[in-house]
Amino acid sequence: MPIHDVGYRPWQGVKSPRIHGWWIMLLTNIMILRRNGWVRRAMAAAWLPTIYLGAGFYTLETALHATDRQSARTFVGMFQAVVPADVIQFIAKDVLTPDDIGHLRHRIWGHLIASFLSYPQALAGMLLIGLIAPALISRDLRTRAYLIYFSKPVGVREYLAGKYLTLIVYVGAITLLPALALFLFGVGLSPDFGVLWDTWDLPIRTVLASLVFLIPTATIALMFSSLTHESRYAAVGWFVFWLLSFAAWQTVYSARYLSLQYEVYYEGQLPERLEYLLDEVDSRRQFDEAAQLMIGQYIAKEAGDSVWSLLSMYESIRRVQLWLLSTGQPMPVSHLLMVSCVTLFSFVVLLRRVTAPLRL
């Protein structure tokens, strides 16, 4: 028997007039996930590439303003795979005018952030989503936790918003947040605030590029989660989807790349505007790094310029991100459509699955 029991007392307080179920769900999901050691470790590890990129920003800013070319060579060594070859050639010039610097900074920062989002952070984001998302809805289906929400003043839209936001906050914390931090780091390293004038649009582009990754991946992950009561099956589905689609495209890409490489190096087939590169390589009879880089990037671009790239959702997202963060790139309409269609399809399936227990 209790020593003291107040029994039931009516509640006299004031309830929030407009309840934000999605916000309560977000806070609660963050509370639960914060207890997961693997999620904490994955998030900490996902910030490591930021250090490398930070060093890149530092080297670039030094190269743009230094009189010696050592910093430029270091920067080229660090990022030759991701920055266009013509930019690399340009940066290696002895003297850069302020106009050159402004133009180069915008292009290079855009490419660096695009590469940062497309490669290390995309991989980390997918791993983190694979860790978090599978349980988000499948767990609710298995334990019938959806009844907790739908017997309270929470609608399906708010329920989904709560789930989406959980993923967006976590994955945004390792994609968008470090990308914006890099931008601010770059601004901080610049000698004057004129850099803001040159790059004012990059934060907006970064946000858009991050959303291009976050929204489709969150939708697909939640769709997989809603398809099963077992989160492990959802996790397997999630990773298999990306791996298979990526492998299919990489197979086609590799075949095209090798074929083009053969045509260029053995048959000398290059577009007229690039033929001088081959002459340069031949005449010097030595490995010309810049020419080699330009030829390599030309082959990669040609090999990638195929409808088969639509096989890979990752590739489609990457191209849209690159378009958003680069100036002068043509809009990848087919990839944009592909990303939109897959996202829409996943959302429709997700919506139907979430409302299915209520329809029975």
Partner: protein, 309 residues
């Protein structure tokens, strides 16, 4: 009278299957038992009441709110305890109740205070700090009940509230429901298969069979038998007493010490004591004849089945 629930010809059709076929009833004060065999449409009806699904046709109001349009207001005023286990792994009991409070619009700190208060009311001790996935069935029932009442709802919809509880906990749960209704003026709709629970706690009963309301009545009405009468049990052989009584009323002997007399109660008790004195037979107990809820339930379901066939 302000009705907690008013339903008017609610129909729910799933393609070819008719789940609810013109359900109409009104629920006033007190506790109403919702009875029905499996597949009668009880769960569908509760989902419609909560705005989880739309009725194919018909209309209804809960606490004056339209069930088709004001689901958000309805869910703020209603506390629902589902039959199935529903929990979020990784959360403790008190966190679950606080979560429910927050989803209903309570401030975070107040939600935590209220969660503790309600868990105390539900008889949950230190186990409230354990993760819910480690709870026994009985503890989960208490937790669901706490989640249903944490926001101080006006109407409770309880789906099998005593399922899986041991006898002691079952009584405690029914007492809690009764306390909320009698002392706090709440209204409750209790869906259950356990007929003794209905008899113990309900003021009214609605029987649903094959999607139709076959009986909607107060427990008093249900208990009132078609034929009035009393069951009498004596401490000694009842023969002499029975013979004396049989001169005025139809009597049916039911053993050495028991009989049933078919007569209205009014004034009969006095006659019985006189007869007992005359015949020197000591009466042990007198019970009025009531309908068996089981019989009423079976008849109601059978009538629907017969009508359909």
């Amino acid at each position: 009278m302000d009705f907690a629930i008013e339903l008017d010809r609610i129909v729910k059709r799933y393609r070819t299957h008719l789940a609810l076929d013109g359900v109409s009833f009104q629920m006033g004060r007190g506790v109403t038992g919702l009875l029905g065999p499996n597949g009668a449409g009880k769960s569908t009806l509760i989902k419609i009441l909560l705005g989880l699904m739309r009725a194919t046709s018909g209309s209804g109001r809960i606490l004056g709110r339209d069930i088709a349009k004001q689901w958000r207001a309805i869910r703020s005023l209603v506390g629902y305890m589902p039959e199935d286990d529903c929990y979020i792994p990784g959360m403790s009991g008190v966190e679950m109740v606080r979560y429910s409070a927050s989803l209903c619009g309570m401030p975070a700190l107040e939600g935590l205070r209220r969660a503790h208060e309600i868990l105390d009311f539900c008889g949950m001790g230190q186990e409230r700090y354990r993760h819910v996935e480690t709870y026994s069935t009985g503890m989960r029932q208490k937790l669901k009940f706490a989640q249903a009442i944490v926001h101080d709802p006006e109407l409770l919809i309880l789906d099998e509230p005593t399922s899986g509880l041991d006898p002691e906990e079952r009584v405690a749960m029914l007492n809690r429901v009764r306390t909320l209704v009698v002392k706090q003026g709440k209204r409750a709709l209790v869906s259950t298969h356990i007929l003794p629970d209905v008899r113990q706690v309900c003021d009214d009963v609605v029987i649903l069979a094959r999607g139709r309301v076959t009986l909607c009545s107060s427990m008093e009405e249900v208990d009132r038998p078609d034929q009035a009468g009393l069951f009498i049990k004596t401490l000694e052989p009842i023969r002499a007493f029975a013979d004396a009584l049989a001169r005025k009323y139809p009597v049916e002997l039911q053993g050495e010490t028991e009989l049933f007399v078919a007569a209205d109660h009014e004034g009969l008790e006095q006659e019985l004591w006189l007869l007992s004195s005359e015949t020197q037979v000591l009466i042990e107990s007198i019970y009025p004849r009531t309908n068996s809820l089981e019989a009423v339930f079976i008849n109601a379901v059978k009538e629907t089945r017969d009508a359909n066939s």
